[in-house]
Symmetry: C2
Subunit: 222 residues, 2 copies
DNA sequence: GCCGCTATTTTGATTAGTCAAATTAGTTTT
DNA sequence: AAAACTAATTTGACTAATCAAAATAGCGGC
């Protein structure tokens, strides 16, 4: 069975390859940063993953998962996101603190427990941050949402996903009522100034940076 | 923070010292068996625990927990038993398979999750095997129950605790309706033959060895 | 008081995962 | 094309946890 270190490598390669243009090739340095580890360590470990048939190492270019590696990674991600959902919906834990908990639990829960949890929660499609939960069979829906940095102005929108798990940012999101499901519209976007102004029903307007806006995904409100 | 290896050592020392006469001194060999590790390893690790102030090592005699070590051990045990309770009561998992799951989870769940779990379950006093759950403040009730090997004959009893976590034994217990809560009485005990015969309402009589009988605790049925 | 048995301790090696620092390969710049 | 820069790789060392096997300490028996 894969150690939790290996599981973490696989999970992060999967996550990073999502938004890697290079045919999903993740550069070693990027992976090192994500894992909070020195680049030399990543090289060593990735070679080991390659020897196990879980990843392909292209020297000096980066790493990509094999089908076997991807399957394991998806299972870890599924555990992570179902655990987060459980912590919020059943244990009523704070939206902003569950990420760290799930980081530990994802390596400790068995597939059997995973299935029960999934059933208990009614087979949810997304976790509390709006991140899609891979299916049991290993399919990861990854709809390309517009973000507050790219969506059309003046249309009625709702938040679907918050793609930054840092406590600080989530705190901010909760504070200003931008959690998944909230209604809003973009009043103004000033690219040179790098800001986006939001209008929400029954709340004050707020302004945030383009960088922050890009981390909040939205869809048209039905 | 204590590694899960350390947590395991502490937990097993606590468990073994319960039924150690020697003022709670656990012999190294016993601990080695419990941890499925070679005796030399235990010596090394116990010395390290002693250096950390978690245990007292009496050379060639055994090991005992310090108050600090006991506190940690109780917390691990609390996690273990609450997780087991959760797995059975909320996730409806099989009584006989939850021990192994909890063995992993006890090292991954935070104190915060622990508290929520405890609240969700209504602060239970015992896990599904009837083993007492240490309180948050670190008190472990350990009522001395009679067992089927020692209780009076012919009195109406009920099972309170099954003190063997092996799958085989638990399987047997379920099969014959001896789970905590079940009613029964001891019809006969033949010490020379080493057997105990049980009578249960609405079920066939069964006979088991004294060794097996000693693992099932009972109280008088109200 | 010596002998031998058993439990414990020592010693030396091993594995997984890591870091620091030196080296190398590729890419830009000039 | 050489120089300079950046990212990746190698190398050597370290820690936690383990095992195998040799050494030792206490003990009971005679």
């Amino acid at each position: 069975m894969a150690s939790s270190t290996v599981e973490n490598y696989l999970k992060h390669i999967l996550l990073l390859s999502e938004d890697a243009p290079d045919g999903g090739l993740v550069p070693m340095g990027t992976l090192a940063d994500a894992l909070a580890v020195v680049p030399g360590t990543v090289t060593t470990m990735v070679k080991m993953l390659a020897a196990e048939g879980l990843a392909v190492h292209r020297a000096r270019e980066g790493v990509r998962l094999t089908p076997a590696g991807r399957k394991l990674a998806l299972n870890v991600l599924r555990k992570h996101r179902l655990v987060e959902t459980f912590l919020v919906q059943v244990l009523k834990m704070d939206w902003t603190e569950v990420h760290a908990e799930a980081e530990q639990l994802e390596h400790a829960i068995s597939d059997r427990v995973l299935d029960r949890l999934d059933a208990l929660l009614g087979h949810p499609a997304a976790d509390p941050h709006g991140d899609p939960i891979p299916s049991r069979s290993g399919v990861l829906e990854n709809p390309v949402y517009a973000t507050l940095a790219t969506c059309p102005l003046g249309t009625s929108l709702q938040v679907t996903r918050v793609t930054d798990q840092s406590g600080d940012f989530l705190q901010f999101v909760v504070q200003h009522g931008l959690t998944p499901g909230s209604a809003l519209e973009v009043a103004e976007r000033d690219l040179p100034a790098g800001i986006v102004r939001l209008r929400r029903p029954g709340r004050r307007e707020i302004t945030l940076s383009l960088a922050a806006a890009a981390k909040i995904s939205v869809t048209r409100r039905k």
